[in-house]
């Protein structure tokens, strides 16, 4: 039975409008999505599918002053696992080969469980070459396991330079917050020494590679065949002022001691060597530092992390005497004709001060030669506290030297005001006698002493001590030098000549350091022994050579050993010889071949 409503025009029209209505709605919606909101959808699609991968640039390498590579980049192997392809039943084999405890791999995989299963995870950095060959051999049985080559720091010149070179480390969250513009989590950054101070030159420019990823973040190809990629730019190579031979000599000589040695080229302020002992092995820091090693360093009572060359402030002892002599001579307080008589000691302001011997009557030259305390007790009272203070500061004591790696201690030069504060307006003037021989409250650092002896050696003119001469441009490999502040004391060379004569006699006359007299080089210097209430005295030596035309100025400081002449002076001599008798020493040791090899390896990696 059929009603008149069956297939009626009315009903047909209703269906017709439903159909047309849906199409109109869909058409409008498509227009909205594909034409009006097209831009925003395109952006989303692009973000979906294209992933920028940061390319870490090669870090700049370090050359020494003779263009030997001293800090380089060496390839290191990193084992990775792609979880989607990996079978955890392989854990026990891998852990055995890597020398890790059971559960090591699972722990890392668990830590990364929230990332895509198709993105490889670094399991261990710096794996042995033996492990790499094992991986190669068993490749087919190890699905999802691979290795990549990453760069780490290498030290091919056989010098440690622990404090000077410094190390790089994964950036800390606090630092990252400060330098968000360049760094990302996981980036390495210079943490100490030159690595830190010259980070901006060394780090280079990051590159970017654009890859297509699928919905599981798996890489499936390159975006536009790499047309949009930006290659990374290697960091600038630094040319250091260091002479590897001098540095090596200093490090070897300091071995077993606590102390520091600094050598400077007086005319330029270029640091030829800067060593602090004990030190540590930078190789251990080159990628991941093992916790054991770090713990060992932190717990070491000798504080290997402490850079004694710039941070250790101690009394200078007799090494301060040339400064006082210059002060007295330059202010006209004395001349070479002025003499004092040493009877083995003298009373000052009610206190008796000893000398090491009975030196008799001597002038300033022999006062320095014999390091006569009585002479300098008298001298400081003659020049007065104010002038003494003024000249100590003139020579850079009591303030930082502005060495380019930073981390310096100021030391301390006491002033009359300081004693007034401490003891009242009538402070005991007997204190000054101690200051006259570099004992008591006065504190100086080895780098300050090195700058001071440079000033003496070069007649009052030098430059701010520095470790980096300049950088090599990436394209032309030309040296772009950095400029450093000139220091000119404005003191006549005749004054220096008198003091230098005394220092010459210290080594070559009948002075305190005749033990280091050399037939090949004329060395001048001054020993010092700083009294130490906590143990044995600290040994000090400052010196320069050759006497006529100083090319190297050295300051050595050794903690708790005894006399400067016995312990510090021989170290200085070794450094001076390493620098001035380079060729002779090279001929003697037939180690040149291996050096050349190191240099070649270093250079090939540097490029």
């Amino acid at each position: 039975m059929s009603t008149d409503r069956f297939a009626s025009i009315q009903r047909k029209t209703i269906i017709y409008f439903i159909v047309i209505g849906c199409f109109a709605l869909f058409g409008f919606r498509l227009f909205q999505m594909q034409i009006i909101e097209h831009e925003s959808y395109s952006e989303k699609a692009a973000n979906n599918a294209i992933k920028g991968i940061e390319l870490t640039p090669l870090r700049g390498v370090f050359y020494d002053r003779n263009m030997n590579v001293v800090v380089s980049n060496v390839p290191a192997y990193t084992l990775r696992i792609t979880p989607a392809e990996y079978d955890t039943s392989l854990n026990k084999y891998l852990e055995a080969v890597l020398g890790e405890e059971p559960g090591y791999i699972n722990k890392i995989l668990y830590g990364n469980r929230l990332f895509s299963k198709y993105v490889p995870i670094r399991i261990k950095r710096g794996i042995d070459f033996k492990v790499v060959s094992w991986l190669e051999e068993n490749e087919e049985h190890l699905p999802g396991v691979d290795y990549i080559v990453e760069m780490q720091r290498g030290y091919p010149a056989g010098i440690r330079g622990s404090h000077m070179f410094g190390y790089t480390k994964e950036i800390s969250p606090a630092l990252l917050e400060k330098h968000k513009e360049y760094y990302k989590p996981g980036d390495y950054i210079g943490y100490s020494g030159i690595e830190k101070a010259y980070e901006k030159f060394l780090r280079g420019k990051k590159g970017y590679e654009y890859v297509l990823v699928d919905s599981r973040r798996r890489e499936i190809g390159r975006f536009k065949n790499g047309a949009e990629d930006v290659p990374s730019v290697k960091g600038d190579d630094l040319v250091l002022t260091i002479d590897s031979d001098v540095q090596r000599a200093a490090e070897e000589a300091l071995k077993g001691f606590r102390g520091a040695a600094v050598a400077i080229e007086p005319k330029t302020g270029e640091i030829l060597a800067l060593a602090s002992a004990p030190d540590f092995d930078l190789n251990e820091f080159s990628y991941v530092t093992s916790k054991d090693y770090l713990q060992k360093l932190y717990n070491d009572p000798d504080k290997p992390f402490f850079n004694r060359a710039t941070m250790a402030a101690n009394p200078p002892g007799s090494t301060f005497k040339p400064m006082e002599a210059i002060c007295a001579l330059n202010t006209g307080t004395i001349t070479t004709a002025t003499t004092f008589t040493c009877r083995g000691g003298q009373d000052f302001y009610g206190r008796y001060f000893k000398c090491d011997a009975v030196h008799g009557t001597l002038n300033v030259i022999h006062g320095i030669e014999h390091s006569c305390n009585v002479f300098f007790y008298n001298l400081i009272y003659k020049i007065g506290m104010t002038k003494w203070d003024e000249y100590a500061k003139k020579f850079g004591f009591g303030q930082i030297t502005h060495i380019d790696i930073g981390d310096e201690s100021k030391g301390f030069i006491p002033t009359p005001e300081y004693y007034q504060k401490l003891y009242g307006p009538d402070w005991p003037k007997s204190i000054m006698a101690s200051l006259g021989i570099g004992q008591g409250e006065v504190n100086v650092t080895p780098i300050q002493l090195a700058q001071y002896v440079s000033l003496i050696a070069n007649d009052g003119v030098t430059y701010t001590p520095h470790l980096v001469r300049g950088y090599l441009t990436t394209d032309t490999k030309k040296l772009v030098p950095f400029s450093y502040k000139k220091i000119d004391l404005g003191i006549d060379s005749s004054v220096f000549n008198i003091v230098k004569e005394g220092m010459f006699l210290v080594v070559n006359g009948s002075g305190t350091a005749v033990s280091i007299k050399s037939k090949d080089i004329q060395i001048a210097g001054k020993t010092g022994t700083a009294q130490n209430p906590h143990g044995k005295n600290h040994a000090l030596f400052i010196g320069f050579a050759p006497f006529d035309n100083p090319k190297i100025a050295v300051a050595v400081f050794v903690e708790n050993v005894g006399f400067g002449a016995t312990y510090a002076a021989p170290i200085a001599k070794k450094m001076i010889e390493a620098y001035l008798l380079k060729d002779k020493i090279k001929k003697e040791n037939n180690s040149k071949v291996s050096d050349v090899k190191d240099k070649l390896i270093g250079e090939s990696l540097a490029n």
């Binding site: 409503r5 009903r11 269906i15 849906c22 869909f26 498509l30 989303k44």
Partner: protein
């Protein structure tokens, strides 16, 4: 009676040509979306073979005597019910649903056949001389015939196909001439069912609407009361069914109601689909050049999300042409249904139209983000053999009706 033997009169190119073009667009999109997927690399060829086979079947169906369809109505329906029961027992589980039968290596979905069987049997029943659409007895019988397969399909569970059945049952009843009140009785429980999914407030709102309508229809109290009871039952039953639904279907429904709640889960496909279409722009990114498609941001894009491929690679031009072809096909079917003088055939054509149409709006509506993510293929375009075959059989019926339309005048 004079019979014109011109091709134009015998064969409606207006039906076949848009479908052939849609099939070709589908092939391109299948090719593009499976190009980088090693698990689906054979799909293009499979679809091509199914396509050829389906076109042959189409001509077979086109050629058979028109009264065959009425004859096969009951057997088709019964066989499809049998298959639906069998599939529940031994069916293959694909993405949480038991809806596939393995037939000699080719997957076959009994629910496809059930759609046709239901259309045929409902049309046959409603076109009987004795059936009176104004009696609730006959409305109830028609509904019962229609809903038996729905219950079996919901047990699989296959939400999308259930929607198709709702649509076709409604369309056939409507075309047959169900009264406004009858329509209300049929529709209001469905309305309340949907409202109950959105929450108590909506459910109460729907209930108030039903009560006001009942007052306006001015039927007797007892009758109105039983309809209200039916409505309440529908609402609570839906809630019960919702809880019985598999978890992934629950989350799909939830993510439609609030898509931003779970952007990486059930909402993920919907978002990626929109990104694919929107980023296509006016002209598209070019064949095989759509990043969303080629990088497989949308899983199984050659099936339910195939419209994204068209949108991304062929742009607004591509999506509008596709829309146009469907619109042309639907209008053509509607005209044919109007012009068919035999009631059974006319009802069958409306049933076929509604099947196509529901697939179309749910599929396209889903990918452009105005419908929930419900898995239904786009007719003639999506990859899938049994779906294509059944769609072509139904198109064959339409072409057959066109061929013999003058026999009834």
């Amino acid at each position: 009676m004079r019979i014109d033997y011109k091709l134009k009169d015998k064969f409606d190119l207006g039906l076949l040509i848009p479908v052939a073009i849609l099939f070709c667009i589908g092939l391109l999109a299948i090719y593009s979306s499976t190009l980088n997927n090693p698990h689906a690399s054979g799909n293009f060829h499979k679809q091509l073979i199914w396509g050829i086979g389906s076109f042959i079947i189409f001509f077979v169906v086109y050629s058979v005597p028109t009264n065959t369809f009425k004859t096969v109505a009951v057997p088709t329906y019964l066989i499809s019910l049998l298959f639906l029961m069998v599939v529940l027992v031994i069916g293959k589980r694909i993405s949480g649903q038991k809806s596939w039968l393995g037939l000699e290596g080719l997957g076959f979905q009994p629910s496809e056949l059930a759609k046709l069987g239901t259309v045929l049997i409902m049309s046959a029943f409603l076109s009987r001389k004795t059936t009176d659409i104004d009696t609730f007895k006959d409305i109830f019988i028609a509904l019962a015939i229609g809903f038996i397969p729905v219950i079996l399909i919901m047990l699989e569970p296959d939400l999308g196909t259930s929607f198709v059945f709702f649509g076709l049952i409604l369309a056939i009843l409507f075309w047959k001439g169900i009264s406004l009140f009858g329509l209300f009785v049929v529709l209001s429980p469905a309305l309340l069912a949907v409202a109950s999914l959105f929450g108590t407030l909506y459910f109460i709102g729907g209930l108030i609407f039903v009560i006001i309508s009942l007052i306006l229809f001015k039927k007797d109290i007892f009758f109105s009361g039983s309809i209200l009871a039916l409505n309440l039952a529908a609402g609570f039953f839906t809630n019960y069914v919702y809880r019985a639904l598999s978890l992934h279907q629950q989350t799909r429904i939830r993510s439609f109601i609030n898509p931003s709640a779970d952007p990486l889960g059930a909402g993920y496909n919907a978002i990626q689909a929109k990104v694919a279409i929107g980023s296509g722009g006016l002209l598209g990114k070019g064949f095989l050049a759509g990043s969303q498609t080629q990088l497989q941001f949308i899983p199984e894009q050659w099936t339910d999300f195939i419209y994204c491929v068209i949108g991304e690679e062929f742009g607004f031009i591509g999506t509008i042409i596709t829309l146009g072809l469907f619109l042309y096909l639907f209008i053509r079917l509607l005209r044919l249904a109007t012009s068919a003088k035999d009631e059974f055939l006319s009802l069958t054509l409306i049933g076929i139209l509604s099947i196509y149409f529901i697939h179309f709006i749910i599929n396209v509506g889903m990918v452009i983000g105005i419908m929930p993510v419900i898995g239904l293929p786009l007719p003639f375009v999506s990859y899938g053999g049994s779906s294509l075959l059944l769609n072509m059989i139904m198109l064959g019926i339409a072409a057959n009706v066109y061929r013999t339309r003058k026999n009834y005048t």
